[in-house]
């Protein structure tokens, strides 16, 4: 996925001279995950800029850059360090269009690696996408594949409004996939039906998609599983979920982050409202518990596992 993101950045920067990259160590270092590797050589120090260490500064100055006519891509080194920038994100980036009735806008992308499972240090494995979903005026995107990463990042860069682009670290180098050299976009706000099935719908996003695919590989003979990759957290493509659950009557939501107040709750609540009568079983959530992400020794204990996912599927099938 790292290469796909790098390619998307390169192509958009080449195409649109107003696109620039700012963040901690995005320049000569190419970002701690090498997502911006080589870009400073190609585009120079005025388009790929190492900033002082301040997330609020990066987002706040990014807003100014956007207001000045540029399209900043702001890198937050890990989503667990975005918090000090939330005032700028919530109160300004996401509200400038609304506040000014369209007179001022903030076309900008805030990229951040997200989630755990890579034996990283404390605070480097946060999966708090639900709190970002709650921000009015902000789009929240999370690709799960290299192909989607490229297409969605290009869409995010071209979007006229701020987009928080969360990159599942666990997928950065785990999956190799040939990504087309040519430009393409994947629309923000559209989920993907990754696997068609008729017995149960599994909804997920980010790195959890790969666990779900493994579950399908392992148990596909026992049940016909429809797998939906949300791709965009907000605005959510509920239509696709609804159509699927209306068909299958059963749904399991797999979420990397903690259980309570998560994205899964929102999906479940919407299913409650829109298709209660179609449900053959309660919608199940497979999530991490409501504890901070453990460090590397313990993180696999709390992260959803293939086994827990399969059990939840069994549970709704046997309800």
């Amino acid at each position: 996925m790292v290469e796909a993101l790098n390619l998307a950045l390169k192509q958009e920067m080449k195409k649109d001279p107003s696109v620039l990259l700012i963040g901690e160590d995005v320049g000569i270092d190419g970002g701690v995950f090498r997502v911006s590797d080589g870009l400073i050589n190609q585009f120079g120090k005025e388009r790929v800029i190492d900033t002082p260490l301040s997330e609020s500064g990066i987002i706040g100055a990014g807003i100014g850059l956007a207001l000045s006519g540029m399209k900043p891509i702001c890198e937050i080194q890990f989503s667990g360090f975005i918090y000090s920038g939330l005032e700028q994100l919530i109160s300004h980036a996401a509200r400038m269009r609304w506040r000014s009735r369209g007179r001022f806008t903030c076309p900008m992308v805030i990229r951040a690696p997200n989630g755990g499972g890579v034996k990283a240090l404390e605070h480097h494995s946060e999966a708090m996408e639900a709190i970002f979903g709650a921000i009015q005026g902000l789009k929240v995107v999370m690709p799960a594949t290299p192909y989607d990463a490229k297409g969605l990042l290009i869409s995010a860069i071209r979007d006229p409004d701020p987009v928080l682009f969360l990159e599942p670290m666990r997928v950065y180098r785990a999956f190799r996939e040939e990504v087309p050299e040519e430009e393409y976009t994947i629309p923000i706000g559209k989920a993907a039906v990754v696997n068609e099935g008729s017995d149960v719908t599994v909804v997920t996003w980010g790195a959890m998609r790969w666990l779900c695919e493994k579950v399908i590989s392992a148990h596909g003979d026992k049940a016909s599983i429809e797998l939906i990759d949300l791709r965009t957290i907000s605005p959510m493509d509920f239509e696709t979920i609804l159509a699927s659950v209306q068909k299958t009557g059963r749904c399991v939501i797999v979420q990397e982050g903690s259980q309570s107040f998560g994205v899964a709750a929102e999906i479940s609540a919407r299913l409650m409202e829109k298709c209660l009568l179609n449900l053959q079983a309660p919608v199940e959530r497979v999530t991490s518990p409501d504890v901070p992400p453990p460090y590397l020794r313990g993180e696999m204990l709390t992260l959803p596992s293939e086994e827990r996912i399969w059990r939840a599927i069994e549970k709704v099938l046997n309800f």
Partner: protein, 359 residues
């Protein structure tokens, strides 16, 4: 070396051109600052005070929302407008009726904002004034980002964020001045030290002797100016803006002034302003001071004042009339500007709400 470069905030006294009695140190008076211009600024300051006071009155009658009056800070704002060009940007906090109006925001829109209509922040095209920014200190970064963006685009343009003493304690003040120093943006930070952040006095906000000297921590200079001296404010901002425009980098200006009114219409300064402090500052009132000077020069008369008052009242009344005719807020505008396009969720919620409200 420019005035601003020359100043040592750790040692030099506060910069003043005209003293409290309207006596002018002519040696410090900049070329362009003619008596005509002073007369014009006098009228603008009077208009600002009238326009500001009108909001207070409307507020007391329940025709306006909570309002932070800028009374006493007119000289911190009016002269800056005369030193700005069309290409420049202003990023106000919330106590900036004066500079906003001077830079082309229609008074009616300012009234609309404080009256609770979002449409008040829809600035006219070509007016480079950002909307009011309520989270203290946050707008400084926008001003820095804009200046940085203009520089990267090889465009000219100075940005001026307005803020007050309380804002200097925020993390965003630090980030903004630090980014400005590193990228040498053309940003003139205009701190109106009005002695209070709500009830918290300047001394409780930070232990540095002046706010101006904080600039040194970011590798550029700061200058402390008498913010009730329209001539000093004109001179210093002219110099700072030219310096920034010429590529010199950022400047921090601490304009020492006083918030003559309450923090907002829901505040009572009697609770916390020590006896005599306001009275002491009222003697330094920026409008009265300029009037004294104009009087010495025989440029002011009671008749002139009447004319000015009449013109001001007309301007204000026109804006009030327009403000009061503002159509009520519609569901449409509350939904349609969240994103460039309505999302499916918002479309559904909007339809549902419209149905619920209007059947």
């Amino acid at each position: 070396m420019s005035l601003v470069e020359n100043y040592n905030p750790l040692a030099d006294p506060i910069y003043q051109v005209m003293d409290e009695n309207g006596m002018v140190n002519e040696a410090l008076r900049p070329a362009g600052l003619t008596d005509d211009l002073l007369l014009q600024m006098y009228e603008e300051m009077v208009l600002t005070r009238m326009a500001d006071d009108k909001v207070n009155k409307l507020q007391r009658q329940g025709r306006m929302g909570t309002y932070p009056s800028m009374q006493g800070q007119e000289a911190c704002q009016i002269p800056i407008a005369h030193n700005l060009k069309k290409e420049d940007w202003v990023a106000p906090a919330f106590r900036e009726l004066g500079i906003m109006m001077m830079c082309g925001v229609p008074l009616v829109d300012i009234y609309r904002y404080w009256g609770g209509f979002e449409s008040g922040s829809k600035m006219p095209k070509g007016v480079n004034v950002l909307p009011v920014s309520i989270p203290v200190g946050s707008q400084l970064l926008h001003a820095v980002g804009i200046a940085w963006g203009l520089k990267l685009q090889k465009k000219s343009g100075v940005t001026v964020p307005f803020f007050s003493d309380g804002a200097t304690s925020t993390g965003d003040f630090h980030s903004a001045l630090n980014f400005a120093g590193v990228y040498r943006t053309a940003t003139v930070f205009l701190c109106q030290n009005n002695q209070y952040a709500i009830s918290t006095p300047r001394a409780a906000q930070t232990a540095s002797r002046t706010l101006a000297e904080k600039a040194l921590a970011y590798g550029f200079n700061g200058i402390q100016v008498d913010g009730n001296d329209v001539m000093a404010m004109y001179a210093v901002t002219k110099d700072a803006i030219e310096y920034a425009r010429g590529g010199g980098g950022p400047v921090l200006i601490e304009a020492v002034t006083f918030r003559q009114g309450p923090h907002t219409s829901s505040d009572d300064p009697k609770k916390y302003v020590p006896a005599g402090e306001r009275e002491m500052w009222m003697k330094k009132d920026p409008i009265a001071r300029l009037q004294k000077y104009l009087q010495t020069k025989n440029l002011w008369s009671e008749d002139l004042q009447k004319e000015i008052d009449v013109r001001g009242a007309a301007t204000v009344e026109k804006a009030v009339a327009e403000y009061e005719a503002t159509p009520s807020v519609q569901i449409d505008e509350l939904f349609d500007y969240v994103h460039a396009e309505l999302t499916p969720d918002l479309a559904e919620q909007k339809a549902a709400l419209q149905k619920a409200l209007y059947k």
